[in-house]
Each structure stands twice: as C-alpha cells, then as structure tokens.
C-alpha cells in the first residue's frame, strides 16, 4: 500500500491506498468535492521528490505527498 500525506493547510489524516500510478490517484480523488479545489493548486511529491507526470509509477511503500501553495518566512 502507498501512503498519501496531506500537508499543511490540507489538514487531513494520511491514508493508505492501493494504486500503481498517479493516474489512479487522480481517478480516486475526482469525486472528493472537498479536495477538488485544492488539487488545482497542489503539487505532488513521490518519496519527497516533486513529480510532474501522471504516469509516475507508484510502488508499494511509496510515500505520496500533496503540497499546497507555500509561503515561508
């Protein structure tokens, strides 16, 4: 199972999901009305590296992080 982390203001508990690519995750989230507006502005990291492709393969034990817009300092 891959672990999904919702960072910062997303403020949700992590979940574990059985997916093989980020495409699966997109499909899974498409009816989550609370999450939809966040998905437009969130970046995605797999094992703490930002990714840019939905075809990114997901292995068991991978960690997927959703990162909302940032503002340090």
């Amino acid at each position: 199972m891959a672990k999904i982390e919702f960072l910062g203001p997303l403020n949700r508990e992590s979940i574990e999901v059985d997916i093989s690519s980020l495409n699966d995750l997109k499909e899974m989230f498409k009816d989550d009305t609370e999450l939809v507006e966040w998905l437009e502005i969130c970046a995605v990291a797999v094992n703490d590296a930002l990714v840019c492709s939905l075809d990114t393969k997901i292995e068991s034990n991978d960690k997927i992080s959703l990162l909302p817009p940032v503002c340090g300092g």
């Binding site: 960072l7 910062g8 998905l39 995605v44 940032v70």
Partner: protein
C-alpha cells in the same frame, strides 16, 4: 546549516553565533537576512507548518550551489506560532567576495519564498487562517486536477 526552532527565533543569539562561527574562516562578507513579523490587518502573529524532508533537500541543493562559488549558507526558521514584531526567518550567506554574497542573499531568499515547503497562517482571534493569497503554488501544481 539549517536549523528549525519552535516559536519565534532568538535573533541575537542566532546571528551572533553564526558570526562567531564564521568570523575566523576568512570570509570577507557576512549577510544575514532577518524576517520580522509585521503587525498588519489585525493579526496577532503568524504560524507555520514545515515539511522537513523536502525543505532539507531544497536547502542542500542551494548549499551545493553556494559551495561551487566558495560561499556558505545558513538558515533558521520557526515552527508554530510567532508573535508580531518577532522573527520567524533568518537566512545568511558568507563569502570571500562581496558581489557573490550580495547575489546569493537575493537569489536564495527569493527562491526560499517560491519553493520552500512551508505553510503560513495568520493568527486572528487565536485561530490559524491559511495565508492562501500570499502563497505560491509549487512547480507542477495542479497535476491531479
């Protein structure tokens, strides 16, 4: 060097300590940038969440970049609540050369604002309100939309 602190930063302790660690290393310029929480729009302070794994790798990438030009970077940031008129963020550069130091403090601080995985909240009536309008979407944002 990257250090995270709970609550406001002790500016004098941090900037003095860094200066004393660096003063004998033959750098010609030391430039700390100190961010201070402004009292504006009725906030009592700011609050921060940090995602450390990506912050660390972002910082290490910059440290490598600095090393190639003979410079060295230092950074401190707060976790949690930081009241008005106290500091949540200090970045510093040391370099043998003035121009390198001035360029790094600018570029490093600007990229920090755009890329560091830190989330800011206004503290209003004791509640955390995400500073969405002041925040910047990271590279690749919207992938799952």
């Amino acid at each position: 060097m990257l250090e995270l602190h709970d609550g406001p930063l002790h500016v004098e302790e941090i900037t003095n300590r860094w200066f004393n660690e660096m003063r004998d290393k033959n750098y010609g310029a030391y430039i700390p940038f100190i961010g201070i929480v402004r009292d504006e729009q009725g906030i009592s302070g700011l609050s921060f969440d940090i995602y450390e794994p990506i912050l660390n790798s972002w910082f290490e990438t910059w440290q490598e970049k600095a090393k190639k030009e003979g410079a060295y970077l230092l950074m401190a940031h707060s976790r949690g609540d930081v009241p008005n008129h106290t500091s949540s963020y200090i970045s510093a550069v040391v370099s043998p050369q003035r121009k390198v130091a001035l360029k790094f403090i600018n570029d490093f601080v600007e990229d920090f604002k755009a890329s560091a995985p830190i989330w800011k909240y206004d503290l209003i009536d004791g509640k955390r309100v995400y500073a969405k309008e002041r925040s910047t979407a990271l590279k690749g944002a919207g992938l799952l939309k």
